[in-house]
Symmetry: C2
Subunit: 168 residues, 2 copies
């Protein structure tokens, strides 16, 4: 296993609350943050592909070179995993996360190639307190992975259940 | 890197066409297949988590033991990656795949724990020829990961662009 990707905060402003003291109340619709970056390497693309997504376009550089993309491209699931690492390191609360029921509308819009440098952009689109369990709320986030040209390469809508700082 | 998971076909019947000669015409709505299985180990869960999803519930067995799940559970993205391996090995055409625009309605319904044995079930829900590019079609598939108790632990709707055997 290689060293985990290093991430850094790109945004001028982050949450008021650090991830060690971040609760449902801190996720306010309209907030936008950017975090990153991670450089994607060909060995990492091929390693992930061999294990989880062994299609030629991801797993075999020589065959992929003759294919429609002219070289290997990352599995879409690896692109999400790399984005997830930045999402977890910087965006998700480290104290109040109560798991995720799922995500919607995953879209892979641009191929990710060796040497690409990815960052993420998070836009809070909804924050709704649970009626049945008033100690928590559901936060919806548009998560985009952006390449070095500023082009979104992947987007999805994440759902996170997050505990309230003050449920009273 | 560990050896890729071994998969085997569970279904009594597979496609008429093997994956080396499988085209858009072979994906007929209503067809259901099952494939697998893969046993999920704690080291694999922790390794994936350290790299891509370092939340305590996935990455730290001792802290996770004191948490709401009573032990580590797999990152939802790892569950999908494991399902993807079976999907690619057995279900996706190996000759006519033209990439995927995305997936919809990802749901993680039951935690995946060390020792769980996962298989997949694929249900073809739609197969529609492209109007703008008549040499291909879009196939929608309900992909479910099923554990050793027969319980679905994850589901999503996949989209695959697949070339026609006979575009004339």
């Amino acid at each position: 296993m290689t060293v985990p990707p290093v991430t850094r905060c790109l945004s001028a402003t982050d949450f008021d609350a650090p991830s060690e003291d971040r609760w449902f109340e801190d996720y306010v619709p309209g907030l936008v943050f950017e975090y990153g970056s991670v450089t994607v390497s060909e060995p990492e693309i091929v390693e992930f592909a061999h294990r989880y997504d062994p299609q030629t376009m991801h797993a075999d550089p020589s065959l992929a070179a003759a294919g429609p993309f002219g070289g290997v491209i990352a599995s879409g699931w690896q692109t999400i995993a790399i984005a997830m690492r930045m999402y977890v390191d910087h965006y998700v609360t480290h104290v109040a996360s109560l798991a995720s029921p799922g995500v919607d509308e995953v879209r892979w819009t641009v191929p990710v190639r060796p040497g690409d440098v990815l960052s993420i952009r998070t836009t809070i689109t909804e924050a709704r307190r649970s009626r049945s369990k008033p100690d928590r709320g559901l936060v919806r986030t548009l998560l985009e992975a952006i390449n070095q040209d500023g082009t979104p390469v992947m987007s999805l809508t994440a759902m996170n259940l997050i505990a309230l700082r003050d449920p009273s």
